[in-house]
């Protein structure tokens, strides 16, 4: 259970920061920054940078994604932007356009 949930018909016109997990089914037109995990559901959309411990994308991100642990681009997910994370998985059926930086 995420501590912060943005449901499907909600829009945040600005930045969202948190210390805990964030689940997004709606739309965030701003940065999402958390020390926990970011779960972007299939209907979720983020239009600015996303950073967290882990980031999983089943929806749409049109910005850079940074994770301290891992980024998972799930089937049906769409990511246009650069990814910086030590681990990255891209599921079959995901859409991705951007650069990947997995460190050294």
């Amino acid at each position: 259970m995420s501590s912060t949930i943005i449901a499907s018909e909600l829009t945040i016109e600005g930045d969202l920061t948190s210390e805990d997990d964030v689940h997004i089914e709606g739309r965030v037109r701003g940065r999402v920054t958390t020390k926990g995990s970011v779960e972007l559901g299939s209907r979720g959309a983020v239009e600015a940078d996303v950073s967290g411990r882990t980031v999983s994308v089943a929806g749409s991100v049109t910005a850079n994604v940074t994770a301290t642990e891992r980024v998972d681009l799930l089937a049906g997910g769409r990511l246009v932007g650069d990814v910086k994370a030590p681990r990255l998985t891209i599921a079959d059926g995901a859409t991705f356009r951007g650069k990947v930086d997995m460190g050294d």
Binding site: S3, E9, L10, E13, L16, S18, D20
Partner: protein, 232 residues
């Protein structure tokens, strides 16, 4: 999870929140919230901005106006600095309001000092919970019994507590009754004090007429500024 959104306790939104569905704010929102649904501000929740929704339930802090198309309830411990507009309104004892309060959908009343009157309507809100959240059963009302009106309460009590300064002991009460209707007619506080002072300073030639202070104070919330301006 349907359409219930939660701004968690450690979460901060800097920007506006719009859309449909219910929203529970346990963390902090620095922006306006416009929602077709019910907005709940939890006891530790903070909204620095206005809220406009079908239903609004506040147990935390809101620095901004709150407009509810259906029902608005302020629970004990709530702290709202802004105007309240709602079709149905309930203010629990222990809630704190600084602003004007208006219940719409019926007769529009004056927007000054209605807080105490509306505080009696808390029964209405108890009858209209769409999703009753638990955990609001803190009995702060027993601990402290606040008046709903924080800032204006002091101004309203001052005319009785503070007697007019005895600069003019020569019966200033007679011109005061003449001045009172004019100051009541115009709503601007600053022009009142100037207009009320001039007819007295001219005949007497002295400064600091205390008499217009009393009727003017009962009308405005900023009454405590009035005595100092009168002594200029």
């Amino acid at each position: 999870m349907a359409r219930v959104s939660i701004i968690g306790p450690t979460s901060i939104v800097i920007g506006d929140v719009t859309g449909r569905g219910d929203l529970e704010i346990i963390g902090r929102v620095q922006g306006d919230v416009v929602l077709e649904g019910t907005v709940t501000v939890a006891p530790d929740g903070v909204v620095l901005g206005s809220i406009r929704a079908q239903g609004v339930r506040v147990a935390g802090r809101v620095d901004g106006s709150v407009v509810a198309k259906e029902s608005l309830s302020l629970q004990a411990g709530a702290n709202v600095s802004g105007d309240l507009v709602a079709a149905r309104l309930g203010i629990e004892e222990g809630a704190r309001v600084r602003g004007t309060v208006r219940t719409e959908g019926g007769d529009l009343e004056e927007d000054d000092d209605e807080d105490e009157v509306i505080a009696d309507q808390s029964d209405d809100v108890d009858a209209t919970p769409s999703e009753a959240p638990g955990g609001h059963e803190r009995r702060r009302r027993d601990r402290r019994r606040r008046r709903a009106h924080g800032g204006g309460g002091g101004g309203g009590a001052s005319p009785h507590a503070v007697p007019p300064p005895p600069a003019l002991p020569t019966a200033p009460s007679v011109p005061a009754t003449n001045v009172a209707p004019s100051s009541a007619a115009s709503s601007s506080a600053s022009t009142d004090s100037i207009g009320a002072r001039s007819p007295q300073t001219n005949p007497s030639g002295r400064v600091g007429p205390p008499a217009p202070v009393v009727p003017a104070l009962t009308k405005g919330v900023r009454g405590r500024r009035r005595p100092s301006s009168g002594q200029d």
